[in-house]
């Protein structure tokens, strides 16, 4: 098996199912293409992904994202297959091409439609969320993005890879369930700045937030299960 840098490999090993021989591409780091027009947000998402053991390419527009993916304006895919992208995470509100428009273009492309797309938005608008999910988005994150959001996405992405991308939708929900069960209780951060704390359920000192980052899967089809239940933000 792989002996590449610790955390990512350990996670894949622990998720490995008997009899599955992970192909070389599966044992490499998850490669995420992050799209956001904001400098600040790009830097933050890049760090969140890196610390979650993902390889990151960050671009500032939908256009650049499509260029990177090899989908040029004539909607044909260039022959390159060098940098496989495992996940696209994009901001919704961007000048030029919105995250939703980017999502549509990706899902309309036979070459790219299998790549899961996650949408991020600072605006918690149900209709927007619904539309994105209905049109093929894998998930919807309300900004500001937290480590627990990235972990959640990476968990079910890694699981999908291990199970050979079968029944992606079902795995997504099951993965969410296991995420709930395994999410650790609130942790008090002490003196060492360890990057491995999985979730930070506290929103602010004045709020006793009892809502977990992942909602229980009983409301599977409800997009509100994907919402981060913020009380005041």
């Amino acid at each position: 098996m792989t002996t590449t840098n610790g955390v990512a490999s350990l996670r894949l090993i622990s998720d490995e199912i008997d009899g599955f021989d992970l192909s070389p591409s599966d044992t490499e780091e998850v490669h995420v293409l992050a799209v956001d027009d904001s400098f600040v947000d790009r830097k933050v998402i890049e760090r969140l992904l890196t610390i979650s053991s993902c390889k990151v390419t960050a671009v500032d527009s939908g256009r650049r994202a499509l260029q990177f993916l090899g989908l040029d304006e004539e909607q044909s895919v260039n022959g390159f297959d060098g940098l496989k992208v495992d996940l696209i995470i994009t901001d919704y509100c961007m000048p030029g091409m919105t995250g939703y428009e980017l999502l549509k273009k990706i899902k309309d492309s036979s070459a790219l439609r299998e790549i899961p797309v996650v949408i991020m938005s600072s605006e918690n608008i149900l209709a927007r969320i619904d539309r994105c999910l209905e049109d093929g988005a894998e998930d919807f994150i309300v900004k500001p993005v937290k480590l627990s959001d990235v972990k959640r996405i990476k968990d079910y992405l890694t699981r999908d890879v291990n199970l050979g991308n079968e029944g992606r939708g079902i795995n997504k929900r099951k993965a969410r369930e296991s995420c709930d069960l395994s999410s650790s209780p609130p942790s008090v951060i002490t003196s060492s700045s360890s990057p491995s704390s999985p979730s930070s359920p506290f929103r602010s000192p004045s709020i006793l937030s009892s809502s977990a980052p992942c909602s229980p899967p009983s409301t599977l089809d409800s997009p509100t299960s994907r919402l981060k239940m913020t009380i005041s933000d």
């Binding site: 904001s38 600040v40 760090r47 942790s187 929103r203």
Partner: protein
Amino acid sequence: MEVGQMQRRLLEYTKSLFMEGVLDNQFLQLQQLQDESNPDFVAEVVSLFFADSERLLNDLTRALDQPTIDFKMVDSHVHQLKGSSSSIGAERIKNACVAFRNFCEEQNIEGCMSCLQQVKQEYCLVKNKLETLFRMEQQIVAAGGSIPMMELSF
């Protein structure tokens, strides 16, 4: 002042910023992303935020100074500022932006002007506070200490 004392002062100072609503939990999130391999992460993000905000505040000042105000553009700038301040945990700026956007929607010039002033004030406040925070951190590091992390239970 010895290191332990400096560390306690820093924690007290940081705690006060949370109590005053200047910073929120997202700032703690950023601190969690900092480690030995990325010891300046928070400072780097905050620098980006300062540069970005100053640009946006200038743009806003200019936009509201026009004979005919383009409220859509004003709103777009405020939206960006709201986003980035939310991403670093600058809660008061973010809240001021929310009010600002409401006035943009109403096309209320006076409301917008007043909000711009408010946002500028909040920005100056956060900038000063964070610069003080980073200075305190640097003093600790210079004295050979490590930067303590905020505890979440307060």
